[in-house]
């Protein structure tokens, strides 16, 4: 005698197994699909957290790194219009300083913001050039002017003291 005890819903629950009639019937139905979507939203929410946390940390200034100022070169050794490569702030962070005028220096971390090739100063063209994929940067601001790079080069603040040039810190992006 066929019993229908398996067809009874004992109580209202959300496991949706009590009315399966065929194998895999409920594998991907509307409700299961919606559940997946809601779960995906949860995954997105959770994976956003670290980004938010690091951003907040940077905002309240914990990420503001201070490096000891570092001598780059003597003023007398850098002619107007010339560039000099150095390392700042770490010994693997390539940087470049360019003397634009008698008392005007600009310095950037010269790892290209596209794929980190070194960026060079081309005096004749009055701009900075990345040879890898022909990226160009404005020497005054470090902003990309042409080619694949989209972000400006991080600027390094310099100051002159007793005829020597010092790197003070890496500026934040303003853009």
């Amino acid at each position: 005698m066929p019993s229908d005890k398996n067809n009874k819903i004992p109580f209202n629950e959300d496991n949706y197994t009590h009315n399966i009639e065929r194998n895999n019937e409920r594998k991907l139905d509307r409700r299961g699909f919606m559940k997946t979507l809601a779960g995906a939203a949860g995954v997105f929410a959770v994976s956003s957290l670290p980004w938010g946390a690091v951003a907040a940390k940077e905002l309240i200034g914990l990420g503001e790194k201070e490096y000891p100022k570092q001598k780059i070169i003597d003023e007398s050794k850098l002619a107007v219009g010339d560039a000099f490569e150095f390392k700042f702030p770490g010994e693997h962070d390539d940087a470049i300083i360019i003397r634009l005028a008698e008392d005007r220096y600009v310095a950037y971390q010269n790892a290209c913001t596209h794929l980190r090739c070194p960026v060079f100063w081309v005096k004749e063209q009055n701009q900075m050039v990345c040879p890898c994929h022909h990226g160009f940067f404005d020497v005054e601001t470090g902003a990309p002017t042409a080619g694949p790079p989209r972000r400006p080069l991080p600027e390094i603040q310099v100051k002159v003291e007793n005829g020597a040039i010092y790197a003070v810190r890496v500026k934040r992006y303003e853009a």
Binding site: R30, F44, Y173
Partner: protein, 63 residues
């Protein structure tokens, strides 16, 4: 059995927004616009309860 697919549509839209916000969040982070990063992070988080709510609301709705 006819069903309402409004819930599916709403959740798909939420997923779409999730993707967009995440994209913006990561980009703004690398641009060092940390305020914008936080905004999009918040939006992403807010979407989750909305998605849950939409799911709860719509899971039993029949057309």
């Amino acid at each position: 059995m006819k069903r309402s697919y409004v819930g599916v549509a709403v959740l798909a839209v939420i997923l779409f927004l999730n993707i967009i916000f995440t994209q913006y969040m990561v980009h703004q982070f690398f641009y060092e616009n940390y305020v914008n990063t936080l905004i999009f992070c918040g939006l992403n988080i807010v979407l989750f309860p909305i998605a849950l709510f939409a799911y709860k609301k719509m899971k039993n709705v029949k057309a």
